[in-house]
Every structure is written in structure tokens, then in C-alpha cells.
Symmetry: D2
Subunit: 166 residues, 4 copies
């Protein structure tokens, strides 16, 4: 059975999404694939697409839990799973994960972070990527204690994730 | 068809839940019933129970969208709907509402607030009740602009809710 | 807490739906209300609407678990709960019930009947109403043994249901 | 993006499950993998396990949409997705598929077949495998007309499936 890392973050309509956040997502995708884990995400654009793009660079496997139809999938999704659950699919993205990584993000990402907290999932927030991740960290609304970790880079995020994949 | 107000907030296991928050919930329940709207909630203890208790004082109707079984319902639930959806039911609590009111709360309430934002539901936060509601308000993580409203009392919350029930 | 009887059957687009099936549904609705139980259904036309119409004649309470939006509710629904689950809501219609009654029906009703069997819910099929109910009975695909009952009229269905509501 | 074939059928607790049905499932799994499609199923034993076993013989990819936890997955599941949806996950098994194949089965399989009909999914029933598939076919409760096909072997099922994967 493959290990699963779910990556949450803004879709492509987020105008505040930085190049740094996207590069970090792509790096995370490459690292997940390199360690033979599967990328799960909401299957759409922005952070999700960048992560999948990275994973495919290293021949990884990408799964998209889509709101409604396969047509919504980004170009790097291998296994497109249309859920018909709309934003309720956020629960699935988190529930299936061995580790959840959050990058930038808006209300959808906050929703996924809250599900991670409710479900006591290992959760890694990459600060410096903007959006709700930075906002939650700066306002001390998440604490840096297991199984929640605030890290400073994609590389550090992957190191922390690996502790939970052993 | 009845109008529906969903009330979100901590369950009975929240040790930080104040008497003021519970009194506010009970008052909201009374006001919802007085205005012939239906209370929908997650069906359990704490804020949910206090709201239902208030509603029943005025012969209101209370609906509980429960995580797993009817046995979880508080004593003031008329219509207990076990969803088998666990915390995914938070989506339903928000989606069925004409207006969502949040009081105190922890990660489950944050989850419901984020669903309200995602679904563009009228959302009313009663500040001064503690928990995630106060934390979100104090850190300017929600703005006081329609359809999101930050109010100071149960009475003010109901006045605002009525604007959306016309 | 109110007892809940869920009623399943064809929506208004079923051209084979007989007057007898609709009259039976209306009678069932009247009887459910008379015995102070709540009608739950998929909230739309046909059998669902006839049942709700009957319930309202006796001042009963009707709940509609709708596929997508409140606008889909028939005119006799008191509490319209849009689930955003599409036909997955069939599970909820069955899961929340103390007893499930099926009248006529097509694939949606077969879907609900199969959920009733999976969940070991008390299930009452009113034969003579046509559709999948008659087809399942005639082909011996359901057995008349507790908690599944094959009955011949609305009145008999309610008598049987009451055994489970004691 | 990979094509997805969902395979439905009895789990390992079905005492009427024949060796022929299991062999057919394993053959289907091998053929799906050979044609580079992904096997999706409910992730458990019986028909699901046999299909996954076949797929892995040809280095295919197998996805299990599990009721509750990863521990329920059979030994041949690559990507175990615990849904927390219980039997409501049946909807997902069908909804994500390009083609649905049913073998033997009981009420869970009938549930999935009814979802396939509701969602107008290409559906292939392999007669001769027993259970609800044979029962539905023998009682003319499903018609052999597109997109529903009644076939006589795993090989014929795959040929038919390929018509929809073009």
C-alpha cells in the first residue's frame, strides 16, 4: 500500500498566490514522488496543479478528488475521482492522508486545515507561502506541536512528513 | 416552508465554554422559535443543547444533524437525523441554513465558519462569546461586511438574521 | 424526540405512476401524521409529494432531503434540507428512518431499498402500487420476514410500522 | 489521465460466492491492467480482492474506496482511500468510473447497480457469476441495451468495456 500525502492550497483563481508558493508546491510534489508516496489533492489549479506537476516530473502518482467532474482536473492528474460532493470533498482530501501539507490558501484551505485538526492528522504548514497559512501562523491560531508542524520550506516539510511515513 | 437558522458552537466538552456563551445560545434559541424559524445544529451538547433548550421554551422546532446515531442527540432535539457522515456533517449544517450563527467554538466551529464563507451563506458571529469566534474577530480574519456580520449580543444577532429571512 | 418514517417512491416524472399508488402515498402521509411521526422523504414530486400532502392534511411535519436546492421541494415540505449530495442523499433518507416504506418506484427507489437492506432497517413494501416494489415482490427478490414486510395497503403498512415505533 | 473501471461484487463474507465468480474477477483485473486502466473498487475482500489480485499480476494500479479505515483494505490495494462514508461510498465507486462491471453480489452490489442506472454509467453484468447479477438478469430487471450490457465472460466484459474507453 502506498503512503499518501495530501497537499492543500489555493486554486488558480487566487490573485495573491505568489510564485514562491507555486515553486514550493512544485518542489513538494517532486519530493513526494521521489519518496514514492502518492499526491492527493482537490485536483484543480494553483497549488494543486503545481504540486501535481512536480510529482509528474519524478514519475509520481497523482490523485485528484474533484468537486463535480473529471473535466475540472488539472493536466497532471493521473487518477481523477469526481466526487459530486462539492466542497464537502475537502473532508476526503484530509481523511485519506497520512500527512497533510498546507501552502498559502484561502477559505477552502482553512476548511481543510480545520478538518486536519478535527481528525488529528499530521499537519504541516509551510510559512512564508502567504494566504491563510501565514495568517494562521502569525496570529498563533495553530501551535507548533505534534502532530502540527510549522516549517519554512518544502524541503523541511518533506523531512517532517517522512517522520510520519516511517 | 420554514426558514432555517443553523447555530454553530462548542459541544459540551469545551472547558472554556462560558456561562455567557451558553446564555447567549439559549437566548438565540428562544428568539429563533419566537420568529417561527427552525433551529438546525449538530445535535449535541454545549452551545447546540443550549440553543435547542431555548427554542423549546418557545415551542420551536429543533433539528439535529448528528455524526453517527440518534443516541448522541441532546434532550431538546425534536428531529434527530443521524447522518453517518462524522464531521463531514458540518457541511450539511451550513448548507441547509438560510442564516448561520456562530457562538464561541473550536475547530469544528471554524470548520463550519469556513464552509459558510465558501458557500457565501449569511454568517453572524457573536463576539464576546469566546473561542474561535472571538479569535477570528480579534485577528481580523473575518470582515464585518455582508453577508458576514460581527454582532455583540443574541438580540443583535437575531435582528441581523431577520434581514435575511424577509 | 419524534419518530421518523421515511417514504420512498417515484418522483413525478414516472409515467407509470398510478392513481392508486399516489392515493396510497397520501393515505400513508395522513396516517403518519395522525400517529405523530415525522415524514422524511427526498422532498420532490410524485410519491414524495403525495405523502407530504397527506401529512399536512393532518398537521404533520414533513422533511425533504433534497438533492441540490430548496427550489426542488414540493409544496408540502416544511423543512427543506438541501444536501448537495445528489442521489447519494438516498442513503440519508434511509439512515435517518425508524421505518422505511416503499411505494411503486424506479431505480432511485431500488437504491433506497438496497440501502434499507444493507442497514437492516425495518422496511415495508406496499405491493399493488406497481414499479420496482411489485417487481421485487413478484420475483421473490425480497422476503417477507422481519424486518422486511410485504403488505397490501397503506393501512396495513402503518399497522406494521407502528410495531417498530413502540 | 487514466481510464477507470470500477468492479462491484460480493465481499468475502458471501458464502455463495463461487470459484468461477472469483476467477472471473481475477481475469477482469488482469485485463483491466493489461489495457492500462485503473481498477477502482470498495477495497475489501471477495470479488474486490480477486480483481485487485489480477490487476497486480499485470502491474496494474488498484484504488480502494474504503468504508472507514485503511486497515480494511485487501492486500492488493495500492491506493487505499478511507472515506468514512460507510456504504454511502458505493456512490463514489460508481461515480468515478468510466465503466462499471458487476460480478455476483448481494445488496451492496444491487445498490451499486442502481447507482449506475441512476447515473447512466456504462454497466456490464457478467451473467453466470451468481448472486444479484444472475438474479437481475434472469428476472429481466435489467435490459441488455446500451449503456447496459449482459455478457458471458470476463473477456467479453473487457471487450465491451473497451468500447467505452476509446
Amino acid at each position: 500500500m502506498k503512503r499518501i500525502i495530501s497537499v492543500c492550497g489555493s486554486d488558480g483563481s487566487d490573485e495573491d498566490l505568489s510564485s514562491y508558493a507555486l515553486q514550493t508546491a512544485e518542489q513538494i510534489g517532486m519530493l513526494i514522488a521521489q519518496h514514492d508516496a502518492v499526491v492527493v489533492c482537490g485536483g484543480r489549479g494553483g497549488i494543486m496543479e503545481a504540486t501535481c506537476k512536480g510529482a509528474k516530473k519524478n514519475n509520481g502518482v497523482t490523485v485528484g478528488l474533484l468537486p463535480a467532474s473529471k473535466q475540472e482536473a488539472n493536466a497532471y492528474i493521473d487518477i481523477a475521482l469526481p466526487t459530486n460532493l462539492g466542497s464537502m470533498r475537502n473532508f476526503l482530501v484530509v481523511n485519506v492522508a497520512d500527512v497533510v501539507i498546507a501552502i498559502a490558501g484561502r477559505w477552502g484551505t482553512r476548511n481543510e486545515i480545520s478538518f486536519a485538526k478535527i481528525l488529528h492528522k499530521p499537519l504541516i504548514l509551510i510559512q512564508g507561502t502567504g494566504g491563510c497559512v501565514d495568517s494562521l501562523v502569525q496570529n498563533n491560531m495553530v501551535t507548533n506541536s505534534p502532530p502540527c508542524h510549522i516549517v519554512n520550506s518544502g524541503k523541511e516539510a518533506m523531512s517532517k512528513a517522512l517522520e510520519y511515513l516511517k
